[in-house]
Subunit: 256 residues, 2 copies
Amino acid sequence: MRILLTNDDGIFSEGLKLLADALSEIAEVVVVAPDREQSASGHSLTLNRPLRMKRVREHWYAVDGTPTDCVNLGVQGLLKEKPADLVVSGINFGLNVGGDVTYSGTVSAAFEASMHQLPGIAFSQEVEEGFSFERAARLAHDVVTALIEGQLPSDLLLNVNFPSGTPRGVRWTRLGKRVYKQTVIEKRDPKGRKYYWIAGTPEWEHEVGTDYDALLEGYVSVTPLHLDLTDYRGLEEAGPLRERLEALAVAVGEPR
Amino acid sequence: MRILLTNDDGIFSEGLKLLADALSEIAEVVVVAPDREQSASGHSLTLNRPLRMKRVREHWYAVDGTPTDCVNLGVQGLLKEKPADLVVSGINFGLNVGGDVTYSGTVSAAFEASMHQLPGIAFSQEVEEGFSFERAARLAHDVVTALIEGQLPSDLLLNVNFPSGTPRGVRWTRLGKRVYKQTVIEKRDPKGRKYYWIAGTPEWEHEVGTDYDALLEGYVSVTPLHLDLTDYRGLEEAGPLRERLEALAVAVGEPR
């Protein structure tokens, strides 16, 4: 059993170190992680410049790119001859829940596992009072152990979040819905020129069955994800909009 | 009617210029776009450093960030007092289809519109023989005109791709499935040290009803998207895996 481990907080983060230690009890762990923090890097690939991958110590490699880059270099480069059975990402410093998962470098690394037909799992830790990466790493160890007791389907894609306190249990959840918007804060530099910070504290709809709701009640949330963003209901129920767009068909081939 | 326009090829790209001109016939267009190419930047937000937004000319602003940053600065900053009715992204140089949409800065800008409860639409142009940004811009104009004839629901999120040749019509599609993997190419610099390129030519499953299939047959593809990545089938049918994970509940609260 070989696990490719990455994160978005960078190769020197505590969550990564403790998770690597915990998973080493059950698998060979190879770490390929960004050489610096890459939070909110999304599912971003570096295509316009080459990447460096530096061996830090045995089985640990630092990459000057995103978590998605790390999974690529790990799967298609480093481990090409001895494939990984599972890609694990985390443990992230801070939750990755609801609609915000598409921003997350941590969760996007698990997306990238799916793109390579490998099972992927992302772990994130709420960082309010009482949180513990040691506890999260033990729990992550238990979750991965439970996973590999059965078959690991290649399209398995799980997003796991740990609450700050001692968890009351594990819940199988769907993604929650965010109700806040990002805000933009305007400031001025010493020369009087404007600059902008993107900021905002997430708030979530309280809905039974969501990841956010489970965490709020003190449970670990486990959310199965997939990458097909097609809005199938919209596809079926498009109605007038679809008709108007398909009516353009008559015109598009004609000279104007 | 006010349109916020962005892209991921950068503010000086031809596709952006022609789209701005075409959309100006039907709406006030405000361009907030990256100051350089941001391809494959995914749904990435810049949170660790401030952003600059530079006025290039009337209604045109260049940002030293990602397309997602641009939508934030546009919606929450520049247009906060006079909100945009629609966010448009593109016209991208190259297709954005199937599972690859999560990599795309162009499509992610439309995602970001959704995060702000605004309708969003992304346009991309296949760039094989016979392609024309002029034609694409006319078509995009017609598509947006057709959209605004009806109501624009705040959760409208469309991904539109134009084939290289003169289109045979418009098809309402779902996302196709990619069958290729990214590859990693290893090289050595003048000092003999290794570096890596992420590369790979996309290949797609031929399946009736997909965006890729429509484009292959010479049609414009219009794919309705949404951002709920929950795998609802996986959520329902989890079975043994879910049982094993929820069984952990007994252990997690206990001292170890």
